[in-house]
Symmetry: C2
Subunit: 527 residues, 2 copies
């Protein structure tokens, strides 16, 4: 087996990126300046429910990869060994010499939505400019990193929304996609999870990993004849100030909770306060209420109750709703019970169950022979209109209404008045109104008036300028602040877990007209 | 940011494995010999369709990780920094000293289903024996590797089944889970994909990566004024003997195919034979038929037609069925058309769309204070009967009927006559019949007669003996041979893509009785 490092470096890409690069090299186009845009076309649709927005994630992971990946001798050796169906070498020596010298991302510039921010379908998410061949090779890995982490951060934000601010713990390592589990843990933290069970990745992210014990520990003490009570006592003995017991190995209400209370009493008598219990099977709403009643009765009114077992946002929503309605019948205050819950979410978060991939794409939008010349816009015409990209060298701005709520993300030409920093405080330039066009439907228009707009915010941030990092790397607190601010400024309808309201992503008339002209020109080239 | 290597080594595990290990250490149990079993409880259920069997994969990746992962000073430093909610250190120094000296998998033994073989729900897939604390730490990573690769190998086998032996190409890198994309490519090859677009991982696996060009290359030539035809000519110029053209950038039938035929004619006039076309949007069944008609008309009866765009096993099944019925209306022989198809399958394969995780678990089955003493079976009683494991130190055998078809996987006690190598040719020992019990349903029994059995095959193979690799690593040809032989020996009903027949996984009466006794004993410990 060849060294696995081949699979983690610059060859973490699709074969066609390299075959195309060789064509560009052969035709003298490889150093033409290209403008690629990355965006996703559809919000995740989980079948019974759908996302109305996404949370951007994956940028730092991508930048790490870009900055550490450059073509090595081993990579060149591998490419030299490739042959086509007739046994001829796929890559010629002159191309490999060029690739060995130029196969890094030091020549690329990159603008992007910052991690943690709300990002919408069809709005530019990342813009890459630089030499055509190198920007092409980047495509696969850029999509891989941003698609997956954004997908998981979005799922995490939904789980947190359903959890009403209670802590969410990411537990998915054992069922996620190989080393992709680390990206999942990172993205879950960006999307709002309070912590993860993944030890290594938690340390990388600067967060304390979370976890207590499994059923197997209770089984060990049972097979030694010391039973569940013996297991709980051992746990309390080693972790007297952090005692959280898993109570469903035998029978939650008949065995687990009574044994936990016995051990909690013993802890208290020694001056330690127990932390709580975890429920991992059965009817979690019912068991949470009954457990709370038993714990309250025994004088443990504030111990945590951790719930886990196939949770996702809808299951959590249902469990909390059921507690709202059912708890009072058992003399339990639902608000106080919910206030002591912690949600452990595993497989369905780490794999985005129901919609396990985001359909992000990376499309050529413009090309020019060299920097300084005019951009020539590029088009692709799809038989599916939603797959026709929005061409041109452009920016994207977010428009806020008079309530301070975001009301549209608008793509604007680079030299447009609208949203330009020099267009006066309003961002409208000389105009009083701006006409917004739906990217696909020709009859869907919206007139935006100066008087109904409180702010116009450019969204993309410079991250790399010709390979040099120009933004400040930030930590989880910053991601959280961005996420919370952006979600707060969404219309509640867009935040809804099921059947959310559709957020407006629009083109200016200018870009709409450009798109129509290019589509017509492309069609006229048909045979 | 702490070095990412922390996230790839032995701390690629759940926090609770470490907190439990410290308890075992503190209680003097950490070197008790444990017997853990890994198995999955349910076949993947994709919603509209379900798997009737899985293809084992992930073992070699797991072994690579196990053999390269041992506790480092950086790992110890990270664990030393962990504190509980009261600010006290989680891990004491004496435990960390022990972990630094013993934190590797050199003391474990492992038996497993070989990669590429058919494996069934609830049958032991992997058995790990060794010191309790170390075997516990292994759990998370073992599950991660085997769950995910088995999930993807299974999906690939289904896609291949639907593709009627035509080559399947794995294209999912851009939408799969970060570095998990490499595991997905590997597993897809084990499950039957002919090749992958993933350059690095293809080299690691010793397979030529596949890919030609994207829409972006056509866009480049369009924006330079040379159009789709210019792009196709450039491609043919650089790859004259490997010319496969993507024909849907503008309009497949009006532009792409006519331009491709022009370039194919030019190639032939220079003595090169074109390879084919790729269709990536629109109605693929209709476009395949029309493209074949146009290519045939132009004298290209054998060029490949690659189909891609949101394919999975059901979509492929439908496309091929539609070609069967519709092609003759256009004068196209459906068998010949299908015989030139290649299927490019991306996101839905690499993420196992519809069921993105396998629910594999790792359960303590038996424990003994030291090697040589008797095993004490371990039990966990779940409120969901399917979650109660099948206890004891045991083996698993596959029983073949008189047609040579596999008819049941049977769990047998280690010292049982049935299926034992010394039990005579039949494997029945002194008995004429053996009673098989359903693992959960008490009234579901089956009597297996000596006369109806052609072979009894032990399934698990020794892989590690106290950390030393004892099997021979093999390549893709061996995986393919195992997979093809095992699938061929399945009942056709079990192979069905939708609503497959349920394969029997059973316990001997002896193991059934043991399970019932242990469940009763555990329940009697309830308060």
């Amino acid at each position: 087996m060849t060294s696995r490092s081949l699979a983690d470096g610059i060859l973490f890409t699709d074969q066609y990126q390299l075959t195309m690069s060789q064509i560009y090299f052969r035709m003298g186009l490889h150093e033409h300046e290209a403008h690629f845009e990355h965006y996703f076309r559809r919000y995740p649709d989980y079948g019974s429910h759908q996302a109305g927005f996404c949370i951007a994630a994956g940028l730092e992971s991508l930048l790490d990869w870009m900055q550490s990946s450059r073509v090595t001798d081993a990579d060149i050796e591998a490419l030299r060994s490739q042959v086509d169906s007739t046994g001829r070498r796929v890559f010629d020596e002159d191309f490999l010499v060029w690739l060995r010298a130029n196969g890094s991302f030091d020549s690329l510039s990159l603008r992007s939505m910052p991690e943690g921010r709300v990002v919408h379908a069809n709005a530019p998410f990342t813009v890459v400019t630089g030499p055509l061949a190198v920007a092409q090779i980047l495509e696969t890995s850029l999509l891989n990193h941003l698609n997956f982490e954004t997908l998981i951060a979005t799922k995490a934000a939904r789980v947190c929304e359903a959890s009403r601010g209670r802590p969410v713990l990411e537990f998915g390592l054992r069922r996620s996609a190989g080393k992709g589990a680390n990206a999942a843990a990172r993205a879950a933290l960006i999307g709002g999870a309070a912590a993860s069970s993944n030890v290594g990745m938690s340390h990388v992210m600067g967060v304390q990993p979370k976890g207590t014990h499994a059923h197997s520990m209770v089984q060990v003490f049972m097979s030694l004849g010391e039973g569940e009570l013996g297991a709980f006592r051992a746990y309390a003995d080693v972790y007297p100030d952090d005692c959280l017991l898993l109570v469903d190995t035998i029978d939650t209400l008949k065995s687990g909770i009574p044994h936990a209370i016995t051990v909690f009493d013993e802890l208290r008598s020694k001056g330690h306060e127990p932390v709580g219990i975890r429920l991992d099977s059965g009817d979690l709403a019912y068991l949470a209420i009954q457990s709370a009643a038993m714990l309250n009765e025994a004088g443990y009114n504030n111990t945590s109750i951790v719930l886990s077992s196939s949770l996702d946002e809808l299951v959590i929503f249902q469990i909390l709703s059921q507690i709202d309605h059912e708890a009072p019948r058992y003399g339990i205050d639902p608000g106080r019970l919910i206030g002591r819950l912690v949600l452990g979410v595993g497989s369905k978060l780490a794999t985005s169950d129901g919609q396990p991939y985001l359909d992000g794409v990376y499309k050529l939008m413009a090309l020019r022979p060299m920097a300084g010349e005019a951009w020539v816009p590029a088009i692709k015409v799809s038989e599916t209109p939603a797959k026709t990209p929005n061409p041109g060298d452009k920016d994207v701005v977010r428009v806020y209404d008079n309530r301070g709520r975001s009301t549209a993300d608008v793509m604007v030409a680079k030299d447009s008045d609208f949203g330009h920093p020099d267009s006066g405080e309003s961002g409208f330039g000389s105009a009083k109104t701006v006409e917004l066009r739906h990217p696909i439907q020709p009859h869907s228009r919206r007139t935006l008036r100066h008087s109904e707009v409180s702010e116009i915010e450019p969204l993309l941030v410079d991250v790399l300028v010709e390979g040099t990092r120009v933004d400040e790397p930030v930590g989880l607190e910053t991601f959280a602040a961005r996420r919370e601010a952006d979600i707060e400024r969404l219309d509640p309808g867009v935040r809804r877990l099921v059947n959310p309201h559709r957020y407006h992503v629009s083109l200016t008339s200018e870009l709409w007209d450009l798109k129509q002209r290019l589509v017509a020109e492309a069609r006229s080239q048909s045979a």
